[in-house]
Symmetry: C2
Subunit: 474 residues, 2 copies
């Protein structure tokens, strides 16, 4: 017996307070439409519980009534995990749980509630002379709960790991409303199964994260940043190995950018001036951190070694904060700049680092064969083997026709290359609703069975983000 | 209907080959008795499958017959996870799966089978100019499958993480014999639940790991190692913060050792000469790695800064490999040296790093109140908040009487301090059979329920290491 939307709203108002429930579809836009506006579904209601206890009460009620609950943070996800699928779900926004509960630099830990905006978490850490090293393009609106539930990555995974690796413990409300108390500040704890890592990256399908203990680190004294001309992805791989050998864990970022990215951004006035040394088919944005008491110059001497080894021919090192900011703007505008050139077909994929040149080479060939004139724009986290393998439409093409004709076909050939190279069809963005069918096609069937068994064990009525990640559970 | 031991041996011989089955209890000693010989139970049989397929066949058979299967690696675990509990189990040794399947320095990954001895994994990585940075006292006999199933830590967790963080993917046989194919060389892969981290640290209760993709790193050019005199655990914490600020991720180790450890080792001739600068109530063994192309001296300049800040008064820096080896021997002999002084009561605990001084202070007071003359020997991974909080019996006490009278009582007061400080009662060694009851007392009951639900979902007949970690499942 499914409740009507009106009954749902009334029940939620009783549980969480009527000020914390939205039942009018006309007022739900901020929660329903994600950044790319790919998913178009209504919700039965939106509830924004003001306390963890209220989250528990909502879940208890939902579990009794079989109501689907979608946890939502900043609504910045790109695969539709945080927006409705059937239209009958309740969106549970964590936005009001936005306290930094504690911060302890000596212990290297900050406890933040799920609704804390990522940028505010950065500021809270910096106010104590520390950093929380997870930087994303969407950090001004993404919230900790969503960042963790999607196991977000970003530009510093190389040195500090992704959201999972940056989380020491979580607090989460289970499907039946019970509270899992897993917050801790322990670097080592071998007392049972790793429930934290199961909840992180589960996209709200196993429990709703309400708070997390996050690792914070001493602020480096400075950064050394360069944009390096690179002849090819193969040369980029060699340079990456050299940097890794010389800089070890101080190597924060090694980002690959093709020339077309510079061309587009300069043509559309997105950069105040060219941040590169000279024209080059590829660039690498490389950044090292320098800890207190360490002599500067590690990046320069490494680049000189690369030059001596004929690995690179030209580079420019940031000499001011303005230089560094411009170099990073060049990198961070890579996704946005493509929209200035019409439609594009996007893939968030990863392969073993050593296979990045093969991925780019084979992928470009396959797409160009399929769509003459298509413009490859592969860029991203070379150091993680994670390439945002995007393709802009041919110059002058009709955007809608291009997408209608080629989107699926290009996906097919790119994923084919990725899988042959032992890669992942979702390196950063997750599964959500966008890639549920794809997951079923490409994932080890035993792994899928294990996932289903775990989902059924922890959410027997299937109320947590129903239909996301795994279609047919329970 | 339980099979007799003879029926079990006969069935296993058919499945895995009679050369690979031991049915004679007199020949099982190597598999039955773990290092501390605390657990005394027989087994129905020992089987050493020569292939992954044979492991699968054994599990299929066991699942059909309801036979308990205990996965065993090097039999070095300290909590009895790898030895029988009821006496009716079959020990499945992974020792014959001992191949390094592949090693790829460019991708930073090595795929090793579960039976590979940890030291051989080190050698394989080093032969390719890389390192697998997981070092343990038992590395000459511990095997990869056991290292992962116990989520082992060791002396370099500070810089590189524990076994879980060093594992990219695993291959594992499930309770019903199916093979989970989770090997990969991906730094980023957000396609579903984190099954890898669930299997790692599960002590063979959710599946049997047969191989793993392990992270390997470029070898540092050199290490800088020092033994520093420290006035107190509080001063050690301050020095640790300073080192972390200046060395960041190059700080490999920060190990705390009390004076009594030096005293015992010198008295028993365990060190060829005193590795310290001078007498001190505490010492810190500090090690930094130095990457290629980096100037030496980072440790020295950091220690000078600590000296200027009046944090330390004396220190000695290793000037040769012999010096470094002696310093590490001093640290690594800490556990062994206690046995030269009679019985000792041991705790493998962790607290948030900032709470280490409180742990030591309160724990020592509590134990000394309980047992006048007891000799505290707390040592270990200060940088991880992980202290091996051991107590040697009073001088001249009777070992058996001491243990009989005080073992449980000292445990109780130490665990009480640990829990009040938000710590863990098993930082490194796990639960096994030794701490099953303790776990039930101290763990969040919701977490225990989640663990039971997952166990039942993945091993419905409860054949995988029955009674370990969780007593009563299913």
């Amino acid at each position: 017996m499914t409740l009507t939307a009106a009954q749902t709203v009334a029940a939620l108002a009783t549980i969480a307070g009527s000020d914390n429930v939205v039942g009018d579809p006309a007022k739900m836009g901020a929660w329903l439409y994600e950044p790319r506006k790919r998913f178009h579904q209504s919700a039965a209601a939106v509830v924004t519980p003001p306390t963890v206890e209220a989250v528990q009460a909502v879940l208890r009620w939902a579990n009794e009534n079989g109501t689907g609950i979608i946890a939502q943070g900043g609504n910045t996800g790109l695969v539709g995990a945080q927006v409705p699928l059937s239209g009958n779900e309740v969106i549970l926004s964590l936005a009001r749980l936005d306290r930094i509960r504690s911060i302890d630099t000596a212990a290297g830990v900050m406890t933040a509630e799920a609704g804390v905006i990522l940028e505010n978490a950065h500021k809270a850490a910096e106010a104590e002379g520390s950093m929380f090293p997870l930087w994303l393009a969407s950090q001004g609106s993404a919230r900790i709960g969503g960042v963790l539930s999607s196991n977000a990555g970003g530009v510093n995974v190389l040195a500090y790991g992704n959201a999972r690796e940056l989380t020491m413990g979580v607090e989460a409300v289970l499907a039946d409303g019970r509270l899992y108390r897993g917050l801790n500040a322990l670097k080592k704890d071998n007392t049972g199964y790793d429930l934290k890592d199961l909840l992180v990256g589960a996209e709200g399908t196993l429990g709703i994260i309400t708070a997390a203990s996050l690792k914070i680190y001493p602020l480096p004294e400075d950064y050394e940043t360069a944009l390096v001309n690179i002849a090819s992805p193969e040369a980029a791989l060699e340079l990456f190995q050299l940097m890794r050998q010389r800089a070890g864990a101080r190597l924060n970022a090694f980002e690959l950018i093709p020339w077309i990215g510079l061309d587009i951004q300069m043509r559309h006035g997105m950069l105040d001036r060219d941040p590169t040394a000279s024209a080059s088919p590829w660039y690498a944005l490389i950044e090292l951190s320098r800890m207190a008491g360490t002599a500067p110059g590690a990046l320069q001497s490494s680049l000189e070694a690369a030059f001596d080894a004929a690995l690179i021919s030209d580079a420019t090192i940031a000499e001011s904060l303005a230089d560094r900011t411009r170099m990073w703007a060049f990198r961070e505008q890579m996704s946005e700049c493509q929209s200035r050139e019409g439609a594009s077909i996007k893939h968030d994929v990863s392969v073993p680092i050593a296979a990045v040149p093969a991925l780019i080479g084979q992928g470009v060939t396959a797409a160009e064969t399929l769509v003459p004139g298509i413009r490859p724009v592969p860029f991203g986290h070379m150091g993680d083997g994670n390439i945002h393998f995007n393709f802009s439409m041919p110059v002058g093409a009709d955007p809608k026709a291009f997408m209608a004709e080629f989107d699926e076909a290009v996906h097919a050939v790119i994923y084919d290359v990725v899988l042959k190279l032992g890669g992942s069809v979702s390196a950063e963005h997750g599964i959500g609703q966008l890639k549920v069918d794809l997951l079923r096609q490409v994932k080890d069937p035993v792994a899928l069975d294990m996932m289903r068994a775990i989902k059924t064990a922890l959410d027997p009525k299937g109320i947590l983000n129903p239909g996301k990640m795994l279609r047919s559970v329970p």
